[in-house]
């Protein structure tokens, strides 16, 4: 049974070769995936064009339920984006080096799910063409957005987060892009030459690189926390029962990390399988991720219980009725399913046998994410359905337009990710090397030499080859 996170005696050239290979020659399966994603996206595009032309009526939004799947899915994607930050930033700061083989795709996931999430507030606007009005641009009429609105906080927070996480992803990739540059030909070489920004592995560059990486990590952790608490403020700052909940910020952050980790497990398994990354994305690393996910799941469960208890013992009769209704009303099947998937399902992660079984974990991780999606739907839906004014109570199910757009968003995310894995290294080569380097318990120069030598290299100690003018 594999117990080490990684084989520290792996040849560095193999690392480069394996990762670079994953970026080349897309196979049939890749193209099928691309076509599937494109098909999903076009569903959403058609639905959105229809909605744009007609108005939000076909989305089955109503005067009593003005929000729907769009906002729920927006929160879901925002949540998903938190895992990359978690793995990169927190684990970086606490020197948990097992993050190194898997953080790259997690960060990419962060960026792409943010790019997906950012679409939803736009899609859901009644007048999409005026969406730039939420940005504080200088207008000669002295009109500004309302800085009090959690929605304008969202605009700020998401912009900041998208900028920062994209920078974080990119900067962390620079040494790898240099590797790509050094190994690529043709257009790829030109691309990587530009993107690697002249990286040449100087000690000055590495030194500054280490600083910025740490600083960015320090920025990103509070940023990530703030972003999802701000998203939670969309609800928590409102007056509605079931939304006006003090524990929402931590609850959202925990939920975000939870769904992000579950998504990492999914993508971990997919990448490991399709790109044959078995040597980097190893079972022990998966196990660590699973344990982390389990821990977060328990935090999430706890916060759920806290919310129930606080409502139960609280003085707000309306919120109490709503909670009771969530447990028993027409949303109850979904609510119980969410609790089952979110709180019971993760116990599979605690079982070592299951944890190490990839197909099981794949399915479990999908279910966890379904649970987390349901969680968001259970936040948005029931409150709108049943609130202060009984005359306004209604049950409205989302229409095909909403479903199509939500469905398409997964295609959009997939498409971005598929492009990413073929253009950028989805495993951090230099960091895997670092990991390997630092993991070697005893520094064995002979082993190092054997690892870093190729046949054409001269023998150590013999006359070195010389080049130059």
């Amino acid at each position: 049974m594999q117990t080490k996170d990684i084989d520290e005696n792996i040849a560095w050239a193999k690392i480069n070769a394996d990762v670079l290979r994953s970026m080349e020659n897309p196979r049939m399966g890749y193209w099928i995936a691309v076509v599937c994603c494109l098909a999903m996206v076009s569903c959403a595009v058609v639905a959105e064009i229809y909605q744009y032309q007609t108005g939000l009526g076909p989305a089955n939004l109503t005067w009593s339920q003005m929000w729907g799947l769009y906002i729920a899915t927006f929160v879901f994607w925002i949540g998903m984006s938190h895992s990359g930050t978690l793995l990169s930033a927190i684990l970086h700061i606490i020197h948990a080096d097992w993050r190194k083989p898997i953080y790259r795709f997690a960060e990419a996931m962060t960026t792409f799910s943010l790019m997906t999430a950012g679409l939803f507030p736009i899609i859901h606007l009644g007048r999409v063409w005026n969406m730039y009005w939420v940005l504080p641009y200088v207008s000669d009429r002295g009109i500004w957005p309302n800085f009090r609105s959690p929605l304008s906080w969202d605009a700020f927070a998401i912009t900041t987060y998208l900028t920062s996480s994209a920078m974080f992803l990119f900067i962390g990739m620079i040494p790898d892009l240099a590797i790509c540059r050094d190994n690529a030909r043709g257009w790829r070489q030109k691309l990587y030459t530009v993107l690697s920004l002249g990286w040449q592995g100087d000690d000055r560059q590495w030194r500054n690189f280490r600083r910025i990486y740490l600083l960015m990590a320090c920025f990103l952790i509070p940023l990530a926390v703030s972003v999802h608490s701000i998203v939670s403020a969309d609800f928590a700052m409102s007056i509605m029962p079931g939304w006006h909940v003090t524990t929402f910020p931590p609850y959202f952050v925990a939920g975000a990390l939870y769904s992000g980790c579950a998504a990492i497990i999914t993508l971990f398994i997919i990448l490991r399988y399709f790109f044959r990354f078995e040597e980097y994305m190893t079972i022990p690393i998966l196990e660590k991720t699973c344990k982390l996910t389990f821990a977060i799941a328990m935090v999430w469960t706890y916060l759920n219980l806290i919310e129930f208890a606080a409502t139960w013992y609280g003085h707000d009769m309306v919120a109490k009725e709503l909670l009771y209704w969530k447990f028993t009303g027409p949303y109850a099947p979904y609510f119980w399913m969410m609790l089952f998937l979110g709180s019971v399902m993760p116990f599979t992660l605690a079982v070592e046998k299951l944890r190490r079984h990839l197909p099981t974990m794949f399915v479990v991780s999908l279910f966890l994410n379904l649970g987390m999606w349901l969680e968001r739907w259970m936040i948005v839906g029931p409150t709108l359905s049943q609130n202060y004014e009984p005359f306004a109570w209604s049950i409205v199910w989302p229409s095909m337009v909403q479903w199509a757009i939500v469905f398409g968003s997964f295609g959009w995310f997939g498409l971005l990710f598929l492009v990413f894995v073929k253009v950028f290294p989805s495993v951090s080569m230099y960091e895997v090397k670092e990991m390997v380097f630092h993991r070697r318990t005893a520094h064995r120069p002979d082993l190092a030499v054997s690892l870093h030598r190729r046949a054409e290299d001269p023998q150590p100690g013999s006359t070195p080859s010389t080049k130059g003018v």
């Binding site: 560095w12 050239a13 480069n16 504080p136 009109i143 500004w144 309302n146 800085f147 009090r148 304008s152 906080w153 700020f156 912009t159 900041t160 900028t163 920062s164 920078m167 900067i171 620079i174 040494p175 590797i179 050094d182 190994n183 920004l197 002249g198 040449q200 592995g201 100087d202 000690d203 000055r204 560059q205 590495w206 500054n208 690189f209 280490r210 600083r211 910025i212 600083l215 920025f219 940023l223 703030s226 701000i230 960091e431 670092e434 380097f437 520094h443 120069p445 190092a448 030499v449 690892l451 870093h452 030598r453 001269p458 150590p460 006359t463 070195p464 080859s465 010389t466 080049k467 130059g468």
Partner: protein
Amino acid sequence: MKRYYVMGLFSNFEEAFATIAEIRNHAVPGVSVDDVTLKSPIEHPEIEEVLGDRGSPIPKFTLFGAIFGMCFGFLFLASAQATFLVQPQGGKAVIPLPSNIVLTYELLILFGVLSTVIGFLISARLFTRRHPLYSEKVSLDQIGILLELDEKNVNPIKELFGKHKVLEIREEVSQ
């Protein structure tokens, strides 16, 4: 005056570090450890003990960016709110501190991050041409030690490299 550039590539990192340590100890008179540029496929925090603390100005950029973001953020919001009087809403003040704190915080981070990145781009000397002696092996698995030398020091350095089992030596003369 002609300057000579010599780069040795090492597969044995211990030996490479030992080479630098010797240079630091003036194994070759006239060659200082400050002339050494280490090129490496990975980050080596431990080598800084040998190379000496060369410092980095990035935290200063960060600090500046963060403070600027905070001040600018708050004042921008407040002055925008003060001129946009249509905002008095929900019975609250025109310039509400609680919500402005949220956005100030976001702007602090945004400007902090941007400033940090700019600081990095400047101080890491990116956007410069690759050194003529740059070897692709440096991005793979070997360490390069690059020295800028007077002509008299070229051979002693090469010898030093040789002693430490250098794999390859590259050199160049600039006019």
